[in-house]
Symmetry: C2
Subunit: 210 residues, 2 copies
Amino acid sequence: MHHDADIRVAIIEDDVTIREGYAYLIGNTDGYKIAGTYASCEDALRKIAHDDPDVLLLDVELPGISGIEALPKLKKAVPDTHILILTVYEEEMLIFRALGNGAEGYLTKNTPPDKIVAAIHEVMDGGGPMSANIARMVISSFKRNDSSPLTRRETEILEQISTGKSRKRIADELYIDLETVKSHIKNIYHKLDVHSKADAIKAARENKFI
Amino acid sequence: MHHDADIRVAIIEDDVTIREGYAYLIGNTDGYKIAGTYASCEDALRKIAHDDPDVLLLDVELPGISGIEALPKLKKAVPDTHILILTVYEEEMLIFRALGNGAEGYLTKNTPPDKIVAAIHEVMDGGGPMSANIARMVISSFKRNDSSPLTRRETEILEQISTGKSRKRIADELYIDLETVKSHIKNIYHKLDVHSKADAIKAARENKFI
DNA sequence: AAAATTATCCCCTTTATTGAGGTATTTTAT
DNA sequence: ATAAAATACCTCAATAAAGGGGATAATTTT
C-alpha cells in the first residue's frame, strides 16, 4: 500500500496510546508511511538520522529532554525534516520558543485526525500549519498597542534607540538636532515613567508601543 | 434568507468585478450578509461606522490611501470589526505591517471562495486565518539562524545589549565581571565585523542571530 | 587525553553618551 | 483659534563605549 513517493512521518510522543493512535492513523492513510516512533527525544536522537523522516510530529511535554530543548539537536540530526509541534500546551512562551527553534508548524492535540494529515501535507508543501488559536496568538504578537501614549515621533525615536543607535546618530539620520532628540527622549521617559534607556525599551516592548 | 445572527461582512476593493464577485459569493452564503462594499478607503471611512460590519475584507493595493495606511483609522472607526487582508501581495514588509496595524488574518487572492468564507468564520471565532505561504513567512520570522558564529554566552550578552542595558548592568545580572562582558563584546564585534553596538545589533537581527 | 572552544578576569587610554534640570519657538492638526 | 507636537537651545556631572594589550580557568568536542 506504500511506495517510494510516500511521505515519511516520524512521531516523538511518550504516551503509548496516543503515539500508536497517530501511527495507526497516519500509517493507514494513503500517501503516508511511518518512518519511526519514539517515546523520548533521547531515543529519537539515536535512531532518527537512520529513519530519515520527511515530517516529524513532536510533543513538547516529554520526560527527560523536553521537545523544545531537543529541537536544535533534532534539526541538526535531520536538517531537511519538517518539524510539527503537536501538543496540549498553548502558552505563548512555548509557542515562540518552538517556532524560534525551527518548528514549522504548531498544532494543539484537539486537532482532528484529518487536519493533522492535512497539516503534514501542508508543511511538506511549504506552508506553516497552525491551529486557529495558535495562529491568533502569533498574529497578536505582531500587533502594536493602538493606545500608546507616545507620539509618532517619540515612537520613531524610541524604535531607533532600541536598535542601539546613539542620540547623535539618530539626530543625523532624522535630520534633526541632537537637542531635539534629547527633548523627545526626556518626554518619552516622563510618559513611561522611567529613568533609563533600558527601562524605556522594556516598558515599550511589554506594552507593544514599539 | 438572512436574519439577525448573520455575520455582517464589508469589503474594500477597488476592482469592481472582484468586489462584486466577493459580495455575490458572501451574500449568497447562508449565515453571512454584506454590510457594505467600498471602492476606496476614503469611501469606507465615511460609511463604515454606520454599516458596522463584523468582518472587513481589505485589499492592500488601493488608489488613494492604501489599505495598510488606512488600517489604524479603520480600527478606530470600527474597533470591534475583525479585519482580514485579502491581497495578491506577499511581501514580508507588507504582511508584517498589516499584522502590526491590527489585521487579524492575511489571505492571498488565489484563495478559493469556500476558504474565504471559512476564514471569515474563523476570524470571528478567535482564529487567525492565513494562507499557507503567509503562515510560513510568519513562522520563519521567528526562526533563529542555527549557524550563528556567536557562542551561547555571546548571544545572550548581545540580546541583553539589544534591550538597552549597560555593560555594567549586564555584568551584574549575569553575575560576571564587567571585564568579562567587555571581552565578550570585543569578541562579538570581531565575529560580526562591526565597531559599535548599533551595528552589532543590526547585523545580528538581520541574520537572526538574536 | 589532547585540542579547541568558551568563559572568565585584569590593565590601560580617550572620546562619546547619557540623564536631569531648565526654556522657547515653530509647525501641524482639529 | 487653540491645542498638541515637533523643534531647538542651555548647563552640568556621571557614566558608558570602544579600542588596545594581556592571562587563565573551565568546558566541550574530537
